[in-house]
Amino acid sequence: MNWDWNAVGDFMPDLWHGLLVTLQALALGSLLSFSLGLLWTLLMRAPSRWVRWPVGVVTEFVRNTPLLVQLFFLFYVLPEWGVTFSALSTGVFAIGLHYSTYTMQVYRAGIEAVPVGQWEAATALNLPRRRTWTAVILPQAIRRVIPALGNYVISMLKDTPLLMVITVLEMLGRARLFSQEHFQFTEPLTVIGVAFILISYLASLLLRALERRLVR
């Protein structure tokens, strides 16, 4: 097996395009999973079981079916019902939705870890329910869960290559295309492997910095 630096050079423009798509999917997918997850957590605490029950069933279903199946479903079945999105939007939505069913559990743990005395102090001060959540409970809960959310960001990064199956050309898609055209597999696959490690590492640095800023 020969290592060909020229192939690495030739692959660079493709890598760049793929990298942008991967980062887009990761950033938007993370945002979506963080916000949807929080929404599910709050809905699961609703007083009415007519809210809790459907949310519980749907999220349990999404969490326990493979992301790959969900991707295929959203990409090939939804258009039959007249709902069409671009491949990347579909991918972002699938990743965000799938991971929101995990982040909701992280948020729940974070909320339950806020001492009951905080709720009692808020009641004693007569703070409205909504304000108690936004000013007292959530800021404390979210600080606690940043490390756990960070792990899911890394996990999402590693799932972005699945988007290849719905025609999104992220890094793996680009590498495969390049390999098929040039019959060189080692270089592009190695390069994207290194790229994944670098992104994970940078993301973890970023999260640690965020944690330091928020956890005081």
């Binding site: 905080q118 009641t123 004693a124 001060l125 007569n126 703070l127 800021p139 005081r216």
Partner: protein
């Protein structure tokens, strides 16, 4: 709500409220159970406006539960609670919110909001609940922090303060809402011994210089003797003896009270 006006009074104002001397708090036939354990057993008692009442008794006798019922942190199983003539239990949520404005509480574990500065701990509720402007709330918060001797800690985080300082901030935070009733739940129990005196002195000051009604659960018998107009001795969810502190501490009628006092004094 006609009764809102006394709320707007400064806590250190000397003029008596309209209801001075009248009954402010009334519990009737209040029963509270936790599982099969009856903590309060058809309890009746009332507190007059401006009075300082101390609840003493062995742990588990239901003292703290009374404070928690009044703060609506828990609900009775039976009975009625009224504050200033208005029902607190049973009552619809909206009514509870109105009545609760008259009541403040200081907790054993301080329960300051660690994600907010000391100043914001004091301004959050006045702005959000009383609709005070931010400037007004901050000016008042600074006055109160001065009163509790922590004017220089406005921007500190609560976790940077000692237990005694945190408890003084918590007292200031409760006062910032201009309550008519202040509930004090073993406020010195979590403090290191050398920090207790500072907090008790502050409470003595407040008791002397304001007309706030105080309901106090404490194990500090000297403090109880010092500030109380009335002492209630609890045992097994009932008041077994009540009277002015001189009588309860000096010449208790009940054998049970004598036993308890000799054990803690």
């Amino acid at each position: 709500m006609s009764a809102d006006s006394p709320l707007m009074k400064e806590p250190d104002a000397t003029a008596g409220p309209a209801t001075a001397g009248g009954e402010l708090i009334r519990l009737e036939e209040v029963t509270k159970r936790f599982g099969t354990n009856t903590v309060l057993d058809r309890l009746d008692f009332s507190v007059d406006a401006g009075k300082h009442v101390t609840l003493i008794g062995p742990s588990g006798s239901g003292k703290t539960t009374i404070l928690r019922l009044l703060m609506t942190l828990t609900k009775p199983d039976e009975g009625t609670i009224t504050v200033d003539g208005e029902p607190l239990f049973p009552a619809p949520e909206k009514q509870v919110r109105e009545v609760r404005k008259k009541i403040g509480m200081v907790f054993q574990q301080f329960n300051l909001f660690p994600n907010m500065s000391v100043l914001r701990n004091l301004t959050e509720a006045p702005v959000q609940v009383l609709g005070m402007s931010k400037d007004e709330a901050e000016a008042r918060a600074r006055e109160l922090l001065e009163l509790v001797g922590l004017a220089d800690k406005c921007d500190a985080r609560p976790t940077m303060l000692s237990g005694g300082q945190q408890q003084r901030v918590a007292i200031a935070r409760a006062l910032a809402m201009r309550p008519r009733v202040l509930l004090l739940d073993e406020v010195t129990s979590a403090l290191d011994p050398e920090l207790v005196a500072g907090v008790l002195d502050l409470l003595r000051d407040i008791a002397r210089s304001t007309d706030i009604t105080m309901l106090c659960v404490t194990h500090e018998m000297n403090f109880a003797r010092d500030i109380s107009d009335q002492v209630l001795m609890f045992d097994s969810g009932r008041v077994i003896e009540s009277g002015p502190p001189e009588q309860i501490f000096g010449d208790p009628e009940q054998e049970r009270t004598r036993e308890f006092l000799s054990a803690v004094l």
